[in-house]
Amino acid sequence: MNRRTMFVFVSLLVMMSMLLAACGGGAEPTAAPAPTEPPAAAAAPTDTPMPEPTATPVPVVEEPTAVMTETEAMTETVAMTDTAAEEAPTEVPFVSTCTGDAPSLLIWADDQRSASLISLKDQVLAETGVCLDVQEIPFGDIRTKISLAGPAGEGPDIFVGAHDWLGELYANGVVAPVDLGAKASDFDPVAVQAFTYEGQLYGLPNAVESVAFICNPDLIDTAPASYDDVRAMSEAAKADGTLTQFFAEIREDPYHQEPIQTAFGGYIFGQNDDGTYNACDVGLDSEGAIAYLTWVDQMVKDGLLSGDVDWETAHVLYETGAAACIITGPWALDRFQTAGIPYAFYPFPTQDGNQASPFVGVQGFMINSFSDNKVLAQSFLTDYVATQDVMETFYATGNRPPAFLPARGVMDDDAKAFAEAAATGHPMPAIPAMNAVWSAWGDAIKTVFLQSATPEEAAASAAAQVREAAACQ
């Protein structure tokens, strides 16, 4: 019995090793070591929707006549061994659609962009002889994966990301500078500014994103122009008892609160003359920031805002007509439409003549500094991605205002409204000290909402934590 078990076990081992060899062998010399990789590689073909490998023979510079006489199957074999011999430099444990010895570019893209990029594949192959491989990865996962895969030599050549990852990606050394060349003037300056880090541009901007002030036109006569108005309308709504809460302010994160705190004159980091952020100028305990927290504090004390309203709750309140106004982004519009609730865009309320300014997030394409194909990646981005057609297809799937100005013509009214809101905004800081802001400032806002700290205490604690993280004397 034991011998039979052993026999079965050894056969299993052999089969597994065959599988490993199949996944890892041939053109893939680096896949074998990492113990967690093989299952991922095996799962890749089913998880990722990839088109069948194209049967189109690859136009190669070298004479293809020698292999033309052979069968197509033979062409494949010859191509495979060639690649193995030359050790294609940037291979990853993922089933490539690129065979043969044409240079290839691997792109990590999220679901909003992968389809558009895949549709470029045939055109790029025909026009330039370069093969595109697009691997679809959830947007948020790219951030952590690139820092691990990049230095290991298993990263893509190009990846999609948000500009506020730059602080981390720069620290991990996985981003390479990008040059927009002659097309620089076609991009939204705020978006270009956002992707600029330490004086260098590190991404080709694709779309801008910001929140806007949205109200239900059926529930309000006039839009609130200031936060005093918001307070007055909240009181009126409370007296009527018609609404659960007039303003569905999300207690959670600094992102949604930024247009409110800037309306009170608060700021997170001071800006240098060139628009970059000065980590040593922390404004979280400035007068404006405290004024904002005090306003929240009073609203909560008077029962006009609730510390229980998190992101989801706020949206449900608005969707069910239990709240009249909300600050939210383009991602919420689908929900509002599904719920059949009317919405209209209004300017952010201001206070005491301050300029209300939301955070602008920019998504774009970055180049992996560990790629051996950086210049090729750069060429592909400027020649094929920075074009009106492609940027318009990204807009069609993502509905975010394009950062590429010539493509802005196709925007619908909603996107235009968000683009207008973004125009009043400032890029989300990407400096490392911003990481401390997300948690420390977020906690400060939350503790005021929960009434477990006074505005002054909360602001002082947050500012101290951020100053410590920024390590300024």
Binding site: A32, P103, A171, G173, V316, N373
Partner: protein, 528 residues
């Protein structure tokens, strides 16, 4: 016949081993498989060697040698049964443990995420464009011998040159056989073929990093149409263990894994270095860590003990009740009581989170002492959810254990005049603990590391003011996770590894206690 003496059995075994390889087919198959496995391992090891992953390559070669020795030598027969398990144990258990311990003594974190050699290579790959260097337009050329060259035009001045690797630029006037097109781009020249525009990408791909011209005056292609003079920005100086900026002369000295200049500016990426016990001292002495860590430490124990107690008490109560023959619809009730166990806990926790939602939830909207916002009530809430998740398990095993207590003991107790309460205290409970005791300790260890429910309920929140990523319902394992991966403050793997070692020591101590305690209980059962 059925009963064999020990000697017989041993003899049979011995003879089976000695006739090993008696079947020729078996022998052939054995060696074929052995050859395949060893061949695969050696091949992989060879590939790794080519890649420069020496430790991994060594692992593969040693494994191959080990397998060969074990399966070929006769004296190592007993090892054959455990060799594969042993190999996987070392690869997937011992190696991660060793690596975690090592990491705990380094400053491996965001910004220090690659090996030193990789960091140096990556930094040395960075380039700069000298001040005033023009952006040139280029055209791909191929020499008759197959080498590459480019035709560069400075759009500002209109000057054009032929640029060949390792040669000075040749002005357009000195190029023989030059015929220019209307846009200033050559249509033909001696010794070279002008390549079509659709060859640009392939040309770029083949000539990345190639300098056309000399080291002093040359250009590299930077995109499909532009070329620039680019120079290496940083050079590593091993003597100072520093990076020297070639453009400004600034020196960046290695400081704990990051090349840092005097003014505090850095070049990235950095690499992890061994920092001794500083991660442990940080946990124990840094006020930003010590306070939250102590609170989380205490709460972890409170959480694990209370979770076991509450589920045990409720489970036992229900089991005793359901064990009574007087209960109507006993089977149906048993099934219903076990039902929460059958639903995946991930769904259950989320359902509870919904029920407790202060505004939309069925319970939370009616009664909300702060299920997710008050430090105390969020702990109560999470214990309540764990009670719901955990009691069916206790109910199930106690119900089973009750069946194993002989009924005649109760009869004897009754004869001796023991009441129901006395019976429970002196008979049922001690006998139950004999079989359930180890499971209770197992349940403690499980809840001690019950990451899923903590994360699903409130991500460890509400936040502890001024305590970094820590929250009031965080237990050690969820805190570790936040430090290592979940936090928005960057990933600190070194610190997280240190915390996980502390967790390991605690769980290890509990396990040792478990073994001792189990032994004691067995003594109890012998005495009863």
């Amino acid at each position: 016949m059925a009963v064999k003496t020990a000697g017989e059995t041993g003899g049979r075994k011995a003879s089976r081993f000695s006739e090993e390889g008696g079947s020729t087919l078996g022998l052939i198959l054995k060696y074929v498989f052995l050859a395949l496995v060893v061949g695969f391992l050696t091949f992989s090891g060879w590939q790794l060697l080519q890649d420069g992953s020496y430790p991994f390559a060594a692992t593969f070669f040693i494994t191959a040698l080990f397998i060969t020795l074990v399966y070929v030598r006769r004296t190592t027969v007993p090892l054959r049964w455990i060799a594969p398990g042993l190999i996987f144990l070392i690869l997937f258990q011992i190696y991660p443990v060793v690596f975690t311990v090592y990491t705990a003594f380094t400053n491996y974190s965001t910004g220090r995420n690659v090996e030193k050699q990789v960091a140096i290579k990556s930094i040395e790959n960075q380039t700069y464009v000298p001040e005033g260097a023009p952006t040139l337009n280029w055209t791909p050329l191929q020499a008759d011998d197959g080498t590459a060259a480019i035709w560069v035009i400075d759009p500002a001045t209109g000057e054009a040159h032929l640029a060949i690797p390792d040669q000075e630029w040749i002005p357009a006037a000195d190029v023989p056989g030059l015929v220019l097109g209307p846009d200033g781009v050559p249509t033909s020249l001696d010794g070279y073929t002008v390549q079509a525009n659709n060859q640009r990408f392939l040309f770029v791909s083949a000539n990345q990093g190639v300098t056309f011209g000399t080291e002093e005056a040359g250009a590299q292609v930077t995109s499909s149409v532009e070329a620039r003079e680019t120079k290496q920005k940083y050079v590593y100086d091993p003597a100072q263990d520093a990076m020297v900026d070639q453009q400004t002369g600034k020196v960046y000295v290695n400081q704990e894994g990051v090349f840092t200049a005097d003014d505090g500016s850095i070049v990235t990426p950095g690499f992890p270095v061994v920092v001794g016990v500083s991660n442990f001292t940080k946990i124990l002495t840094d006020p930003n860590f010590r306070g939250p860590f102590a609170r989380i430490f205490i709460w972890t124990f409170v959480w694990a003990v209370l979770s076991v107690l509450e589920t045990f008490v409720l489970g036992m109560f229900l089991a005793l009740t359901m064990n009574s023959p007087n209960i109507p619809m006993q089977r149906l009730l048993r099934v219903l009581l076990i039902l929460p166990y059958a639903i995946p806990p991930f769904i259950t926790v989320k359902v509870w989170v919904g029920l407790l939602n202060p505004i939309l939830g069925m319970i939370g909207s009616q009664w909300n002492p702060g299920w997710f916002t008050s430090p105390f009530w969020s702990k109560v809430g999470i214990l309540m959810v764990n009670l719901w998740l955990g009691y069916p398990y206790m109910f199930l095993i106690i119900l089973g254990a009750l069946q194993s207590i002989p009924q005649d003991m109760y009869e004897a107790a009754k004869v001796d005049g023991a009441g129901p309460l006395y019976q429970f205290r002196r008979l049922t409970l001690p006998l139950l603990l004999v079989s359930i005791g180890p499971l209770l300790i197992g349940s403690f260890a499980f809840n001690f590391n019950n990451f899923a429910i903590i994360d699903l309920y409130n991500q460890g929140g509400p936040p502890m003011p001024g305590a970094g990523v820590a929250g009031f319902t965080d237990i050690l394992i969820s805190y570790t996770y936040k430090i290592a991966f979940g936090g928005t403050r960057g990933n600190d793997y070194g610190l997280a590894a240190a915390v996980s070692i502390i967790i390991f020591i605690i769980v290890g101590a509990v396990t040792i206690f478990n073994f001792r305690y189990t032994g004691q209980l067995e003594e109890v059962s012998e005495n009863v």
